[in-house]
């Protein structure tokens, strides 16, 4: 696999969900990203190349930030001439673990932690710089992870599962959760205080009443409750009632 091919595959990782659908999920995006990595097979073994391209766009799903691990490992397996059925089994086997670790690390860890820290920084006076810091921190981590993922996948091939288990990923996923909990906890009172600036005490009481009511509903309101639905109902009722009465 050539260096330009690896770079092209790496760049295509950022659009891995470009054709997300309910049938193949990330499959087409994986096929698109795999194209530069499979190029070498085209002249060496055209029959294998065609079969590898077909497999590359089959069903796949995982956290997009860790898709490089699967992409690299599958491309390496194709290059090494691993039987097609084994490549497909590896593809299926990677979906669950890469989804679970990636979602824990990014969607319930890094993203809420950095977003909450950005909120706290805005409240403490950092202004738009807080947003620049958020983007820089997240994208540095995410681009670094994508590059590491692709390289690890290409290096390990069929052994990628073990490599992930021994890597920093499981430990980081475990540790980032409490950090996110702390950061979100920190941001809630700071954001509340900041947003309520200038409101009359009676209006603040209404804010607290609605906040407590919403939390109670989210806990005991069942599956029909969602924060957006709650906000829509409250705002529409108040707007309609207010226009009639005021």
């Amino acid at each position: 696999m050539t260096a330009p091919g690896r770079v092209r595959a790496f760049l295509r990782l950022f659009a891995i969900q470009g054709d997300w659908n309910y049938e193949r999920m990330l499959g087409v995006g994986m096929g698109y990203a795999a194209e530069p990595l499979l190029d070498e097979l085209r002249t060496r073994d055209p029959v294998r190349h065609t079969a590898a391209v077909v497999r590359s766009a089959e069903f796949f799903n995982c956290n997009p930030n860790l898709a490089g691990l699967a992409l690299g490992a599958l491309a390496r397996a194709e290059r090494d001439g691993v039987p097609g059925e084994q490549v497909s089994r590896l593809r299926t086997a990677l979906c669950g673990p890469l989804g679970a670790i990636g979602d824990r690390l990014f969607w319930t860890g890094v993203v809420p932690a950095l977003s909450a820290l950005a909120i706290a920084a805005v409240v403490l006076g950092a202004g738009a710089w807080a947003i620049a810091g958020f983007l820089l921190a997240y994208n540095t981590l995410r681009v670094g992870t994508a590059w590491w993922s692709l390289r690890t996948g290409l290096r390990e091939g069929l052994q990628v599962g073990g490599a992930v288990g021994r890597s920093w990923l499981p430990r980081a996923a475990e540790r980032v959760g409490p950090m996110a909990g702390f950061a979100v906890g920190l941001a809630i009172p700071l954001a509340g205080r900041w947003l309520m600036q200038g409101l009359a005490p009676t209006v603040m009481a209404l804010v607290l009443f609605l906040a407590v009511g919403g939390v109670a509903l989210s806990r005991w309101g069942g599956t029909h409750y969602s924060a957006v639905r709650y906000a829509l109902v409250v705002l529409i009722l108040l707007a309609a009632g207010g226009m009639v009465m005021l």
Binding site: W107, S115, V122, I131, G181, L210, V228, L238
Partner: protein, 227 residues
């Protein structure tokens, strides 16, 4: 409150489209987070403070959302751009409630449109089933670029609708100050409910819960010190 000129509206439309694409398709760099989308929209509309305030408020709603796989979730990005367009230039918290109402409606519509997009992508997949089965690389490329194009159109239409709503709100704002105050209070209360409910759910009963409580205590202490 000065009107939004055509150049500003075009820039907001372009930014809203970028933000909509960022949520799932490309590049997932977190431009779609309300705190980012709102701040940049505020810069474009000439009112960074309104962008930051609405961005922070709508980010509290976004913190309740887990954007995983096949789940259906609201699209807060273009909604935030529209909300900032509706409120830019007005004194805080005037227009806050109506801007958030517009954002919530648009976020729900955005979530629905995302689901429709996924069905459209699947239909395109069926149309190229033979090419995929034959290992056609141009077929894969066409599907990928088709998916990206459809999402861009989705983002463009969603933002255009949101900006139309924002222009209406700017032209016909609710006049009663007490109603504005009530709606602002409702928006802030619901946002705090969203983030607190989501944080409690994510924390469960493990160590994350203790860290959440520690963070809350630290936040309250800092808020009290700030006065």
């Amino acid at each position: 409150m000065s009107p939004l000129d055509p150049t500003t509206l075009l820039l907001l439309l372009a930014w809203g489209t970028v933000v909509a694409l960022d949520l799932v398709s490309v590049p997932q760099a977190m431009y779609a987070r309300p705190v980012v989308a709102g701040t940049v929209a505020g810069l474009i509309a000439g009112d960074v403070t309104a962008g930051l305030q609405l961005g922070v408020l709508l980010e509290l709603f976004a913190l309740d959302v887990l954007p995983v796989g096949a789940a259906r979730y609201p699209d807060h990005g273009p909604a935030t751009v529209a909300a900032v367009a509706a409120a830019a230039g007005a004194p805080w918290p005037e227009r806050l409630g109506t801007a958030v109402l517009l954002a919530m409606l648009l976020a729900v519509l955005g979530g629905w449109s995302l689901q429709r997009l996924r069905y459209l992508n699947a239909a395109a997949l069926h149309g190229r089933a033979a090419a995929l089965a034959a290992g056609s690389e141009p077929g894969i490329r066409a599907l990928q670029w088709g998916g990206l194009g459809r999402d861009a159109v989705r983002g463009l239409l969603l933002t255009a609708l949101g900006l139309a709503g924002a222009l209406l709100l700017r032209a016909f704002p609710p006049v009663a100050p007490r109603l504005q105050a009530l709606l602002a209070a409702a928006a802030i209360g619901c946002a705090l409910a969203a983030v607190a409910g989501g944080a409690a759910r994510s924390a469960g009963r493990g160590p994350r819960l203790y860290w959440l409580v520690a963070g809350l205590a630290a936040g309250v202490m800092i808020a009290l010190r700030l006065g």
